[in-house]
Amino acid sequence: MSAQTSTAPMVEMTGVHKWYGDAHVLRGVDLVVQQGTVTVMLGPSGSGKSTALRCINQLEEIGAGSIRVEGELMGYREGTKGGSPALYRLHPRQIATQRARVGMVFQRFNLFPHMTALGNVMEAPVQVLGKGKSEARERAVEMLSRVGLADRLDHYPAQLSGGQQQRVAIARALAMDPDIMLFDEPTSALDPELVGEVLGVMRDLASSGMTMIVVTHEIGFAREVADQVVFMADGVIVEHGPVAQVIDAPTEQRTKDFLAHVL
């Protein structure tokens, strides 16, 4: 894998399909995300953009196609059976290991309510990476300072505003030193006046060179930081490219209709 890492894109989705029973929610998604770039996924609700994101770190199992992160196939091992190539499903433990380097931030924060902000950020480094308590604590304080919450270490999530909770969630993901960060509508559950602080943290993260895929409706944010904009509708990528192309000069009618609604 190490040989591939330098050349392979950070994420490569090829012909990804996803079914929920009879519902065909992803119908052949192809997406390449290069290292150090920010990709913003836009699209009407139900277009499959969140599902596509969740497939990357295996929170959803894909039905067809393949997803590679830094060249490594996610969820499966390539092998042979009876002389012909075959895919072997990875054990949940191996999938957990693959997930550890993909950070994720959820729409509803999903902080652990029984732990303080510090506890939330320390949890995975201690439990997954096996770091010592003091080392993990030091790192957690650093991460929480980075998102502007150095004075909220001992607060429980219920004592924090939505914007603060989401920033803790970002710090929690960053504490694992991920190679890529996935954001699933990170500001959709926030009161309008709290959106700015979360976008601010994400903006800083983008400028620090973190590879990011962001599902959002914040066109302003996309304009400002996106290297690539992906527009999805009905389970496929309708249009993708730089901001100047997809947002400012869309060629597809569905993109135009969507942008007319949100702008």
Partner: protein
Amino acid sequence: MTTPTAAKTPAAEPQRIHAIPVRYPGRWISAAVVVVLAAMAANALITNDTFGWPTVGKYLFSEPVVRGVGWTLFLTVTSMAIAIVLAVTLAIMRRSANPVMRYVSWVYIWFFRGTPIYTQLIFWGLASVLYPVITLGVPFGPALLSMDTNVVLNATRAAILGLALNEAAYLAEIVRAGLQSVDRGQFEAARALGMKEGRILWRIVLPQAMRVIVPPTGNETISMLKTTSLVLAVPFALELQFATDAIGNRIFQPVPLLMVAAIWYLAITSVLMVGQFYLERYYGRGFDEHVPKRGRRGRQSAINAAKTTPELGAIDDMGRPIGGGV
């Protein structure tokens, strides 16, 4: 829209409202009724000689009674402790991806909930008759170690085992309900961090489930306290109910000794309720209004204190705070 400066302009001290409060005569009437009824009840208890209060006083702290209290507490605590460990195991098995685990757990709960505790206790008492020798060894093969069932499963152990195995079936359902009450997002967040299933259960899900598990488990513990009186079926004859019955029958005054038992059960239940209060408070941390160390503090006041909302005019048209910020 008001400007921030307008809001800061000092105004005249507003006239406070001093209204006459609403009267609630029903509260006074109900209080009077309750006081009268309580006095009648107390009178009925004190003046009726059959209760034999001097006898109650004489035996309340007598040696066999106090020893009975000790045994009752011992049976309650040990059988509940075993039952809780077993119940958590059964509940986790019920949710396992392994169908064998799910099935075994289901059958266990089906059987132990489906047969009377009294029958089960009689059975454990009879175990040494049914199987006089317990053998450890290869299944259907040679024996490595043989033990006399009467020694291994004496009356105390049979009583504890019987109570624990039965209770575990009920508690398993309580634990399962608790595990189900935890939001799916908690699993997803933990998975996304790369945590393995066992760790997720132990570190993330179970501590949150405890908030739902503790109140009914307290209920079960109090119920268990009194179920211990059934171990007579084993037969185990040292606990409180048997001790007081024995004295009552000997001195031909069953009622005062029933009162002795009732007073002790009530007292122990009261102590257990205090313990439950503190357990609930511990597992409610981060959920409820009260938060340890920090005192009572509403969510809104926490938000206000956090000053997350920038001052008016301090945000640009992109929603970015101007100056400082993150």
